[in-house]
Symmetry: C2
Subunit: 450 residues, 2 copies
Amino acid sequence: MSRPKPMSGFPEFLPAERMVELHALRILTSTFELHGFAPIETRAVEPMEQLARKGEIDKEIYVVRRLQGLNDGLQGLDGDGDDLGLHFDLTVPFARYVLEHAGHLVFPFRRYQVQKVWRGERPQEGRYREFLQADIDIVGQGTLADHHDVEIPLVALDAFEKLHVDLGIPPVVLHVNNRKLSEGFYRGLGIEDPAAVLQRVDKYDKIGPDAVAETLVDELGLAPAQAVQCVALAGIATPDESFVDRVRALGVEHELLDQGLADLAAVVRVAERQVPGRMLADLKIARGLDYYTGTVYETLLQGSERMGSVASGGRYDALASDGRVTFPGVGYSFGVTRLLAPILGRGELTSSRSVPTCVLVAVDSEDTRERALRTADQLRRRGVPTEVAPKADKFGKQIRYADRRGIPFVWFGAGEHDEVKDIRSGDQVAADPQAWLPPAEDLFPRTVRG
Amino acid sequence: MSRPKPMSGFPEFLPAERMVELHALRILTSTFELHGFAPIETRAVEPMEQLARKGEIDKEIYVVRRLQGLNDGLQGLDGDGDDLGLHFDLTVPFARYVLEHAGHLVFPFRRYQVQKVWRGERPQEGRYREFLQADIDIVGQGTLADHHDVEIPLVALDAFEKLHVDLGIPPVVLHVNNRKLSEGFYRGLGIEDPAAVLQRVDKYDKIGPDAVAETLVDELGLAPAQAVQCVALAGIATPDESFVDRVRALGVEHELLDQGLADLAAVVRVAERQVPGRMLADLKIARGLDYYTGTVYETLLQGSERMGSVASGGRYDALASDGRVTFPGVGYSFGVTRLLAPILGRGELTSSRSVPTCVLVAVDSEDTRERALRTADQLRRRGVPTEVAPKADKFGKQIRYADRRGIPFVWFGAGEHDEVKDIRSGDQVAADPQAWLPPAEDLFPRTVRG
């Protein structure tokens, strides 16, 4: 075949970039595990009827059919009669997993899940058709305590702090709001369709407060005074509990508003003490069409706010229900590809070498290759990533092989008169393959500024 | 929704099982990295025309189409006009990746890749529609030295040895053959379609030598004497180079046979010295429809030979070609799901607990939850996976919460009069959250016999 072209919306990385992604994933998953989240994976496909329940997102679903079925004129329906689609998030499959396996789980159940998801969107800047998400959720059986609504962002901020320290990803601010607060406020104003208002307020950052007010009047028929109040609410953002007084000052009253204010204040109060400066009560956060019912989260990179939220989530009163038992949940999703692909694409982060290899064992002649294999094996047994040179070339060529891959050490005279050369400094010393170790910082590839 | 039923052919694990799978994957990937293989991932979809090139496998492909396209009557074709399918192995996407990114890779290129693959097969015992594979390949630009044909099984056997020692997976024997040997032998017998013979010899273990000879005569029109010779060749299996004499004794001559014998002898000779007892020259190994051109590998679990090969591979003279440059390769694929799903399904391996958590910090009352959060944070900073109890229940209930998940330690009096209890022994001692560490074997969940 001729040289294939990249497929728009399906990012792929070179090995040095994939190593950075794996580094980021180790940071995320080890943080999740430190906080007691257990790993699961779900299958890539769900029945279409489950996926399509989420309203407008159905346009973006990739349908999956067996070719054989298509050829048989059966429209590719599965043997079981199910029409399948690729999951577009990890929440819908997780809700199904909880119902399916509830008898084998203990609640509250804390899980993390790192998998690709697919959306058949028109590709555009920052939008992907295949991308990696890393989700954490806590789900209860029947009930789930409110304090988990502050636990989730504390886990998220712990992970982001490590991404900042270890990888140089910018620090984040986690923006938090509560759907009850917004809905109660709108209802207090006499608005009957709070969801429609939320969807428009969601565009606040993109189109600005005046345009939001305009759409509220033009599209929803709100009175100008109501629209002004909605926009005023959306404009409130405080790093502490003072948002409560500012909302009260708008003079709107409703029971649901009281509850939302109290819930959000509880989250912000704890976060302010535990992770000062990292959380903002931001009353314009709406999470568009997502079916959250209480706390909602978005996360912005400081200095790159324009790229939008790189991680978000919230609380569902009913993540899942089997008709008899309801499973409330609170969760958060890291957009791993959304966060890393632009950074890797601009070459801002890369690996110190393109291979894991720390030592290349040179080969004198093809007759002595087995001696090199044994030396390599001795080094590997003590954890040193090692390759044997592919060809008994002149030593200059074998050094070049190492150099082109960033391999720092070349081993000569394997099994006879062992010496190891640091090809960066040119230093060459006698060495015992049963005892020699590289400096710790050379053992594995490191993530470095590009 | 009502309780969903499992979907046949799409295995899913509980957290304790997934932890075992992750343990196995850490063993595999760390072994690959010790041998200098670099990680990549490819997108899940490829153009149908690429996937369908592999002959009969096209029946098993899952076609992927945008729902929106389907609704528009456009048959779901992508904006780019490509019809897409889910990859059914990791070789076809890797070949495409090599061509697409050749300008950014250095050759020989060594990569590993761990991803799900999908096949729309009728589900049956040991067959899955979605399963995990872990592949290693070495690919050259123009040429690739023969010694990589022994390097690949040495890496594979290194990984299997660790799976045996760490997880108790049975030891393996890696069976190896060479397509040139078989093809040369058949051609030396005057047979014109060696591929058709190979496909039938592939059934040797399933149907036995007599039935193979019968199909060779009945279906391919071979003379009985030819069929007897083919079956005699397939019956040869030796742990050393003695297979060469046994083949010679059959009296067949062909140049390609000579080459195949020499190539296979070179592989077996090195393996016999480096990993005695782990490799068998087994001349019935055919790898059915796969497009290998030289060495081929299959791998059997000792004592579970009946489940068939759990990992296999071989050499391609042309893994990929852009018409100008050809990329020969040799590779090997671990059937991770095929290997683990039966063991996990029978409960033979599991985790020592169902959560990563090592310590549960008890909560006296909801008013002091923040003290518990701080203690948990101190423990996590030193790498101890820690949860805070979800409810300020009676201590007996909080201990039960830990016990049901297998969490070994419960921390009392957080930030006031700190004490830690080993709930297995009942021992409770004063402890400093800035200094206390659990015994090393309790820090993380361990894989244990079920």
